[in-house]
């Protein structure tokens, strides 16, 4: 799919940036004519992926998170969230509903939510070098701007 527009943002894994990342993704996505529900779904998926970097990738230090947003012709948004943290040993297991290494503070529903709120979720991870989550979502209305 042809790329129409693209933005890349890097920020440290501070939890206050969860809200920033959601707002930034929503602002970029506003050039697509998305419904409020679709926008809410996108923000939720971004929140899950960024929180995972903050909580799991860098459990006891700050590290860099990059968020890359792309608009793909004709009406698809792609979000890529990447960390250079500890990585995931067994990605398939991590994606199972309720699986968590986070104890009572977490519910193990993050990947399940990303999967149900976007069309495709791709996870690439290597222990010790980091994780990249790439999500694509087709929006129902036509792209308004080019």
């Amino acid at each position: 799919m042809k790329e129409q527009n693209c933005v890349k943002i890097e920020f440290p894994s501070r939890s206050v940036n969860e809200g920033f990342a959601r707002a930034a993704a929503a602002a970029f996505a506003s050039q697509l004519d998305m419904t409020l529900t679709e926008l809410g779904d996108l923000k939720t998926a971004v929140s899950e992926a960024v929180t995972n970097c903050i909580v799991h990738a860098y459990p006891d230090r700050l590290g860099p998170i990059t968020m890359k947003l792309r608009i793909l012709e004709p009406d698809t948004i792609e979000v890529q969230i990447k960390d250079r943290g500890r990585g995931i040993e067994d990605v398939e297991r991590a994606r199972e509903p309720l699986f968590t290494t986070g104890g009572e503070e977490r519910s193990g529903m993050g990947f399940t939510i990303m999967e149900s709120f976007t069309d495709t979720v791709k996870v690439r991870s290597r222990v010790g070098s980091g994780t990249t989550v790439t999500m694509r979502k087709k929006v129902s209305r036509r792209a308004a701007t080019r």
Partner: protein
């Protein structure tokens, strides 16, 4: 982004303790919110606990963990938990999580 963080206030009548939760609930604010809810439940041992989400505009899976923890605390006391006035985005998250099989969820009163 401090203005976007989650806010909570409580009201009590009879054996019913209500937490009014407002703003955006994510991992950033969930720890403090969870602490506040547990502290009030321990102190007041209500019969019913309500999480009123009328003013909550956003919630991710961090909110599910908050609800589950409140549910377990109320269960341990032999009390009940209700999640009320859930708005559309939080409702989609709750639906995707299947938590409605355990906890009473309503969208408006």
């Amino acid at each position: 982004m401090g203005s976007e963080s989650v806010k909570v206030s409580t009201t009590q009548s009879g054996g019913r303790l209500t937490f009014h939760i407002a703003g955006e609930l994510d991992h950033h604010g969930a720890g403090a919110l969870m602490g506040r809810i547990e502290e009030r439940i321990e102190a007041l041992t209500p019969r019913d606990c309500v999480l009123d989400m009328r003013e909550l505009t956003f919630m991710d899976s961090s909110g599910i963990a908050v609800i589950m923890r409140a549910y377990r605390r109320m269960n341990a006391l032999g009390g009940r938990l209700f999640v009320e006035n859930v708005q559309s985005q939080p409702l989609r998250v709750l639906d995707a999580s299947g938590i409605d099989r355990m906890v009473n969820i309503s969208t408006s009163t």
